[in-house]
Symmetry: C2
Subunit: 168 residues, 2 copies
Amino acid sequence: MSLSIYEASVPVFIRGMRNLQAILAKAEAHAGDRGDPPSVLIEARLAPDMLPFNQQVQRVSDTAKGAAARLAGQEVPSFPDTETTFPELQERLTRTIAYLESVPADQIEAGENRPIVLRPRGGELRFDGKTYLLSFALPNFFFHVTTAYAILREQGVPVGKMDYLGGF
Amino acid sequence: MSLSIYEASVPVFIRGMRNLQAILAKAEAHAGDRGDPPSVLIEARLAPDMLPFNQQVQRVSDTAKGAAARLAGQEVPSFPDTETTFPELQERLTRTIAYLESVPADQIEAGENRPIVLRPRGGELRFDGKTYLLSFALPNFFFHVTTAYAILREQGVPVGKMDYLGGF
C-alpha cells in the first residue's frame, strides 16, 4: 500500500507549523502574564552554540518551504530572517504555510526521483526526492520544531506534548 | 508518485536510532573524558517536569516498536524500562532495531487502513494506519530523538546537527 510523496510532505509540514503557531501563542501569553519582555523567550537557547528560539522557528520555515520547493522543482522562496517578535514569527509561519498551499500537488508527486542537491556549509549532498524527504527534510523539520518547543519548556512555558502533536 | 508505508516507517526509524546510537557513543566518551559519572548525563533533563535522558531514549524505542507493530497488526513487544547506563541504552536500541527488522514488510504495507487505537493517559485516539504514521508516530519519534540530543547539547556534549541527521 502506498502513501503519496505529497501526503508525506506538505500536509505534514503544515500540521507541524500550525501546532507550532498554537505553541507560540501560549508562549506569548505566558511572557505577558509573567511580565517578562518577550525578548527573554525570543532570544533563549539551550546551549551557547545552539540557535536561539526565533532562529529555530526560521529554520522550521526554511526546512518546510525548501522541501516543498525542491520536491516540486521550484526555486526555494527566500524569506529574510528579520523576525524578533512573536507576531513576526507567527507571520513567518503563516507566509510559509501559504507558500506550501500554493505548490501544486502534482508537481510534488513528480518529485520522487528528482535529483536534489544541498550545499550545507560548503559541503554537497545529493539525493533523489524520496531519500531527501525521508532522510533529511522530515527529520530536520521535526528537529527544529522540537528544539523550539524544548527552549520554551526549559524556560518554563506551560506547554505539553499534546501541543506539539496537535489535536486528533 | 508514491512511497510505500514501509519505506516511510521502518527504515526511517532504524536510521534515526542508528544515528542516536552514534550520539550515545560520543556522549559516553565525553562523560569519561570529563571524569563525570555517566549518571550526570543519564539523569539530565531540560525541565523539572520533562523526562530525563534515559527515558527519552526509552520513548524513542517505544515509539518505533509501537509504530511498526501497530502498522503490522502485531502485539507491541513490551521492553521493561530498566536502562540506567549507556551500554544498557545502546542494547535497548539494538533490540528495538532487531525487532523492527523482524517485522515483515508486507504486513506493514497492509497497514495503511488498519484501525489503530491509542490510549494515552486515559484518553483514546483512533487513526487509520496512514494518519497514525504521519500525524502521530513520526512526529513523536523525532520529538524524543531530538529531545535526547538537546539534553546532551545543553550538558555540553560535543555533538552537532550532522550527528542527528547522520551520514549521506
